[in-house]
């Protein structure tokens, strides 16, 4: 380590020697940074899962443009839209096809007493082009009344059921006093919105949700003609449809809008953002404390170095060296502990909490930055090291 740092800095690694000389302080500082990392990782993990489950439903549909009610908030938190706009949209240049999408929440209780709440997507089974290519081949199975495709990741659903379905054994269950038969699976995952998802035909949907009418789906999916950009068509649709009631968004824009709604307008998003902020603050304060105590404890030595002719860059170098050591040594255990906690969260909640490289790199860079800022503040104490006081 000494040798490595000496090569790296081209001088004695005083910052490192100083930090490692006081083992207790080093341990406290590293633990502090690791803890701050853990806080930030947990918040980001849950926030990531929140974002992931916000856009997850988009994976089961396949559309270029989505028409929705202006009253709605997100794909799954929507209001109804009049079906007449579907016909109007069909008349717009560049629109190749349109299809209604119904969404509802279906709570039911399994035989073993587990209560499950599923997001139900009702689609037109004669338009397989509007569901994801993975699901499209299964769509014909749904033409049979009261059949459904069940989410493999459904929370509370026994694995035997899912395994059975994959092997081709249908699974019948009661919901809303009617019998539904699962005839296949799709893979979306639960998340925050519901315990899982399921897909049915629009006919089955309307049968289960008696209050809903075919005249008012939740969204209208629009496929554009080959070679036309969805943005262009979306602009044309906006011109034609009443802006006060109909929201026209490309698929991408809709996902982005859902994400921003969930992270900025929902208390959960704000709370998690605040958690990240707290984690960073904790790290900053701990590192500042350690580094400034270190400076204060060594004022006479620093003053001696000043008398010997060492300039400000030398002292800044020492503090930043310490900051970098703390950042690296704190980040590694923080990352490992966070991955452990992520695995625990997945096992317990089934939320899609995963560590991706970009997040790890981001947090590491953030840690480096925070430690450096703390170090920069701590160096202000160096001004107190006056060599004239040494004699």
């Amino acid at each position: 380590m000494n040798w490595l740092l000496t090569q790296l800095f081209g001088r004695l690694p005083i910052g490192w020697l100083q930090l490692s000389h006081n083992k207790g302080r080093l341990f406290a500082a590293v633990s502090g940074v690791a803890f701050a990392n853990l806080l930030v990782f947990m918040q980001l993990g849950i926030m990531g899962a929140l974002n992931g489950s916000t856009v997850a439903p988009y994976a089961i549909i396949d559309t270029d443009i989505i028409l929705s009610s202006q009253e709605g908030n997100t794909l799954t938190d929507s209001e109804h839209i009049a079906r007449v706009w579907m016909l109007q949209a069909l008349g717009v240049a560049g629109v190749a096809d349109v299809s209604p999408l119904y969404i509802g929440n279906l709570p039911f209780t399994l035989d073993d007493g587990t209560s499950v709440s599923l997001l139900v997507f009702g689609v037109n089974t004669t338009q397989p082009g509007f569901v994801s290519p993975a699901i499209a081949p299964l769509l014909s199975k749904l033409t049979l009344e009261n059949t459904t495709l069940l989410d493999e990741g459904t929370r509370g659903m026994p694995t035997s059921v899912i395994d059975g379905l994959k092997a081709g054994a249908p699974f019948a269950f009661e919901a809303s006093g009617q019998t539904l038969t699962a005839v296949g699976t799709m893979n979306v995952g639960g998340g925050f919105l519901a315990d899982g998802m399921m897909m049915v035909s629009d006919q089955t949907f309307l049968q289960f949700f008696g209050s809903r009418s075919s005249a008012a789906p939740d969204h209208i999916m629009v496929r554009v003609a080959d070679g036309v950009s969805p943005e262009t068509v979306a602009a044309r649709l906006s011109d034609v449809l009443p802006a006060l009631t109909v929201r026209v968004q490309t698929n991408e824009a809709a996902q982005a809008a859902d994400l921003s709604f969930m992270s900025s307008e929902r208390p959960t998003g704000i709370i998690f953002g605040f958690g990240v902020f707290m984690g960073i603050l904790v790290g900053l304060v701990i590192v500042y404390q350690v580094l400034s105590t270190d400076v204060a404890d060594h004022l006479r030595e620093y003053a001696t170095f000043k008398a010997m002719g060492y300039g400000q860059p030398f002292f800044l170098g020492i503090i930043f060296e310490e900051a970098i050591v703390l950042a690296v040594f704190g980040f590694i255990p923080g990352l490992i502990a966070s991955m452990g906690l992520y695995a625990g969260l997945v096992a317990v909640t089934g939320l899609p909490v995963t560590m991706d490289a970009s997040r790890a790199i981001l947090v590491f860079l953030g840690t480096l930055t925070a430690c450096t800022i703390s170090g920069a503040i701590a160096t202000r104490r160096l001004a107190n090291a006056d060599p004239a006081d040494l004699f």
Binding site: L12, I14, H21, E301, M308, Y310, A388, L390, F391
Partner: protein, 229 residues
């Protein structure tokens, strides 16, 4: 080098402001010859340390002038002062060693400031200096494991390792036993003769007075006697 390494003229120094303003140094004029060993004496509070810090570019000159190695300190920039200090060797009363650095590493700090020589050359030079001061078997000790006198000798080694042109010392022998105190002063004396190192030292130690080329006595911030041997 044209002139003397230290030329002090019309030097006054004040501490405090307003009502509390107090003059510590009164119109001092001293020229120190190259390679000489000069001793500053005087009662406590007579201004010895203040004069030493002014000469050592550790304190801003308020009034008068100090030429150090042909550079005027009065009005010099911080950068110029830092560069000048690298050519000096300071020996403080307290050792001020870095607790996390070994004896050798502490001494090396006196070389690294110049940025010259690679690590192994610096280490060899540091070892040599420690050996001269009788610390050959303590090279890799941390200060915490050294006696007070040994620490002070490490500090001396650190001050001398880079071959300074001027050595400024404030009661350096206070923490040393008789023998090593004598060794250190002998060493400074020899350096003066061999390399032309100029030493200004504050001390009350009568045994050292015999070795001095010149003894300056201060009282209440003024020179009251100035004798050359």
């Amino acid at each position: 080098m044209s002139g003397a390494p230290i030329v002090v003229s019309g030097l006054n120094h004040f501490f405090g402001t307003g009502e509390a303003r107090k003059q510590a140094i009164f119109d001092i004029n001293v020229t120190v010859k190259r390679g000489s060993l000069t001793i500053l004496m005087g009662p406590s509070g007579s201004g010895k340390t203040t004069l030493l810090t002014l000469i050592g570019a550790l304190r801003d000159i308020q009034d008068g002038s100090v030429y150090l190695l042909d550079r005027e300190l009065n009005g010099a920039t911080e950068g110029e002062l830092v560069a000048l200090r690298r050519r000096l060797g300071f020996i403080f009363q307290a050792h001020n060693l870095h607790e996390s650095l070994t004896a050798t590493q502490n001494v090396r700090m006196g070389l690294e400031v110049h940025g010259k020589g690679n690590a192994s050359l610096q280490r060899a030079a540091s070892h040599h200096m420690l050996d001269l001061l009788g610390l050959a078997d303590r090279r890799d000790y941390l200060p915490g494991n050294l006696s007070g006198g040994q620490k002070q000798r490490v500090a001396v080694a650190r001050a001398l390792v880079a071959n300074p042109q001027i050595v400024l010392a404030d009661e350096p022998t206070a923490a040393l036993d008789k023998e090593s105190g004598h060794t250190v002063v002998e060493m400074l004396k020899t350096l003066g003769q061999v390399r032309g190192t100029t030493t200004v030292m504050v001390t009350h130690d009568p045994r050292i007075l015999e070795l001095a080329d010149r003894i300056i006595k201060l009282e209440d911030g003024s020179v009251v006697s100035d004798e050359s041997n």
